[in-house]
Symmetry: C2
């Protein structure tokens, strides 16, 4: 059962939320499930992490929100990307790729032949 390292989630949660919303508006609870589903259960987001993250991103203008109805019929706060959010998604996405690439290089120890 996932939720492995809090410190790994930190730094990627925003990216994950933005990416999930790229496919269309969704409410908070569903966003969490979608992350879990899309990642084939490799990732899990606790509610106590998700909601504060959504407020933060909303406050920063990356998300828009309105009250609506979930597919289950219950009331829910529906989030969608703003223009700023879309641009943010692009930059977070690029930052992640660079970072992951950097880690990968260290793990493979490709460089280093001792020039100088």
């Amino acid at each position: 059962m996932p939720a492995p390292k809090p410190d790994l989630l930190r730094g990627t949660l925003d990216l994950l939320v933005l990416e999930v919303l790229r496919a269309g508006p969704l409410h908070g609870y569903a966003i969490g499930q979608q992350i879990q589903r899309l990642s084939d259960d490799l990732l899990r987001v606790e509610q106590g992490s998700l909601y504060p993250a959504l407020y933060r991103m909303h406050r920063r203008g990356w998300l828009r929100s309105r009250w609506g109805t979930a597919s289950s019929g219950r009331r829910a706060r529906i989030y969608s990307l703003t223009g700023v959010g879309k641009r943010r998604l692009a930059s977070e996405s690029a930052a992640w790729r660079d970072y992951a690439e950097g880690v990968q290089r260290v793990l493979e120890q490709l460089s280093e032949h001792g020039d100088s």
Copy 2:
């Protein structure tokens, strides 16, 4: 100039240090430079992050340390992996791969065709 997202480093710094030390003992200052070099400058670790991380890992028994001499001739604290550290490297490495894989799947949105 790197050092892009503190929150990305968090969760991988331990892994990076362990991995660099896998190639052999090294002192703190050199570990930081090695991470930067191996990653082709994609990654950068501040001293204020590195030293506390080394103490933490030492305290947890992942690293062994002794006073020695850097290649420059100055005194330096040389770190090396313990048995626990090697095992830790393996598990951190696996956790990273799983996590990165999970993020990748979300970014590609491969699953989900809307069955139900």
